[in-house]
């Protein structure tokens, strides 16, 4: 056998604990301590004043997608449809076209992501053989007042730069 048995002490059976009131007063002393600490100086509150103060996010955070570019500014994506095939929520819609800049044979003429469908699972990033799609834009709050704006195309996807430096990001991927 040899399994170690840890005996957990059962609380709440003594006379004073059975009276409830003493324990209740102890609990109330704890909460009122917090109350007066915060009332005296409300900078003690454990909250972030959100819309003004943004949370710090890590390189592994899966934010809004972005399409990466080569050094010369051409798009890395070769329209291989790996991400679209792999997407569990079927939110990626690619239309492939001939590539004229000589980097490879194909490129997307349309690359749309429906952010209302997307579940931010990151499978597209894992599937991509060209490291062309990433979720490191650092945008964690995507809002809009209508559905149409939630469908983003190549222009919006290229636009944000990576929010983290390359080394930090690669650590997260590895």
């Amino acid at each position: 056998m040899g399994a170690k048995i840890k005996v957990v002490e059962r609380k709440g059976k003594t006379f004073f604990e059975q009276l409830y009131l003493i324990e209740i007063f102890k609990g109330m002393a704890v909460t009122v301590g917090h109350f007066f600490r915060n009332l005296r100086d409300n900078s003690n509150l454990y909250v972030r004043h959100y819309p003004e103060v943004k949370p710090e996010i890590t390189p592994r955070w899966r934010g809004r997608h972005r399409l990466t570019l080569h050094e010369d500014g051409s798009i890395k994506c070769v329209a291989c449809f790996m991400c679209q095939t792999n997407c569990p929520s079927e939110c990626i819609m690619i239309e492939a076209g001939e590539r004229e800049d000589g980097v490879s044979e194909k490129m997307p003429v349309k690359f749309e992501i429906d952010l209302l469908e997307c579940i931010y699972c990151g499978y597209c990033v894992e599937a991509c053989p060209m490291d062309a799609i990433r979720m490191d834009s650092g945008v964690f709050s995507v809002t809009s007042s209508n559905r149409e704006n939630m469908m983003i195309g190549i222009a919006e996807l290229i636009e944000p730069p990576g929010a983290f430096n390359e080394d930090e990001y690669q650590k997260g991927v590895g």
Binding site: M28, V32, F35, D41, N42, L45, H49, V53
Partner: protein, 428 residues
């Protein structure tokens, strides 16, 4: 009836009707900001009118507007619409009526006439309270039943089981209290508590009935449907219990009713056990005798208190992040200005009293205002205890509440009656 009589009657009724209603706003604010602070978060502090947030009080305004403009739905499956609509009214009206017999100041003597400072100057005091409060729970049961909804019925059932658990210990706790006071008249009870025990302890109910006060407060928590006994509306298991089918102002009436009930039962606890309007060691006669000194003391003390309060506002009313030209600082400046304006107003009134109007009706009015203030401060503190307990304790199951009511509180209350009676018979 002279003009003064009518004026005072109007004043008392206005006090009895509007003070609980205006306190609802304060209590909701206290509850929500208090809950925030108990849990180390901020609570509602964003709503504002022209940048003035009044510490979060403006949120109530927004809530009120929202509730008024919501659609008032009476679901089609409800067959007894009359009872469905009657229920929230019952809850609200009974809560408000209870306050009518609670004295907020000592008997005001003007000339040869005496004015009892209750909204309704009844002699039966506590009996009125017991009768009306017992009626209030019908509103909840009726709401649960007429909603024709499983959760609603369960909520109503729980309310019914609750009422049989707490009413008996509450009544018995009151019996021993009445043995001590020898009267059911609230004003006389309050006057009794102005005496001193052994010449130096204020003879408050809490001193002469230490066991009774615990029983009564526990029962009062159950009676107002507040945590830890808010099982009639257990959100986690029966959605919202009895008010699950209500929307808009009908829901708001339940909501208001709950807070009015909380205020009224705090007022009752204060009246019965914590000396009512009595300032400790300063009975009405003493206050009248030293009216000038008291006025001077207030005139000195008020600016000192206001200075510290202003410092607190200055320290806490600021943005907790970098913000150019912090508007909250400007807000604080305005609040502090208003505070000093109010202090100045009070000082001027008191100065006028000291110079022109001593030793007359003015003395008595001053004492009345002081006592009303004391009563309201004590009641607010008791309400804070309600909030404090709500954000500390989890909810009881309803068999646990019955067990506490029948097996613990009732024998204790009976024991309390025997002890009290024995002491009264042998010493009194």
């Amino acid at each position: 009836m002279s003009l003064l009589d009518i004026l005072l009657i109007l004043l008392r009724i206005a006090f009895g009707a509007f003070v609980p209603l205006s306190f609802v706003a304060v209590l909701v604010w206290m509850e929500r900001r208090g809950a925030g602070f108990f849990q180390d978060r901020a609570g509602p502090n964003r709503c504002h009118v022209m940048g003035f947030r009044a510490g979060g009080l403006i949120q109530n305004l927004a809530d009120g507007v929202k509730l008024i403009f919501k659609e008032d739905v009476v679901p089609a499956h409800i067959t007894h619409k009359f009872y469905f609509i009657l229920a929230p009214m019952l809850v609200f009206v009974t809560a408000l009526l209870c306050f009518a017999v609670i004295p907020f100041a000592d008997v005001l003597v003007i000339g040869s006439k005496e004015y009892i400072m209750q909204a309704v100057p009844l002699d039966i005091g506590i009996l009125w309270f017991l009768a009306i409060v017992g009626f209030g729970v019908y509103g909840i049961i009726l709401a649960g039943w007429s909603s024709h909804n499983k959760y609603g019925v369960l909520g109503g059932l729980r309310a019914a089981s609750q009422v049989i658990s707490y009413e008996i210990p509450m009544g018995l706790a009151l019996v021993s209290l009445l043995v001590v006071y020898g009267t059911v008249n609230m004003t006389e009870i309050a006057q009794y508590q102005g005496q001193l025990l052994f010449g130096f302890i204020p003879m408050w109910g809490v001193v002469v009935q230490p066991l009774g006060v615990i029983i009564f407060i526990i029962a009062a928590f159950a009676e107002t449907n507040r945590t830890p006994f808010d099982l009639a509306e257990g959100e986690s298991e029966i959605v919202a219990g009895f008010h699950v089918e209500y929307s808009s102002m009908k829901f708001a009436l339940f909501f208001l009713g709950e807070y009015v009930a909380m205020f009224v039962s705090s007022a009752l606890i204060v009246t019965l056990y914590f000396g009512s309007f009595q300032i400790p060691w300063f009975a009405t006669e003493t206050l009248l005798f030293y009216a000038t000194e008291v006025a001077v003391a207030i005139m000195v003390g008020l600016p000192i208190g206001a200075y510290f309060f202003a410092g607190w506002i200055r320290k806490n009313n600021k943005s907790h992040y970098d913000r150019p030209n912090d508007p909250r600082r400007r807000e604080a400046t305005v609040y502090i200005g208003l505070l000093w304006l109010m202090v100045m107003l009070v000082e001027v009134v008191l100065l006028g009293y000291l110079v022109f109007a001593q030793n007359g009706i003015a003395d008595r009015l001053l004492v009345m205002i002081l006592q009303t203030g004391t009563f309201l401060i004590k009641t607010t503190m008791m309400c804070f205890v309600y909030v404090w307990v709500r954000w500390t304790l989890p909810r009881f199951r309803y068999d646990q509440l019955q067990k506490i009511g029948w097996e613990k509180l009732m024998p204790l209350a009976l024991l309390n009656i025997f002890i009290t009676s024995a002491v009264i018979v042998s010493f009194g």
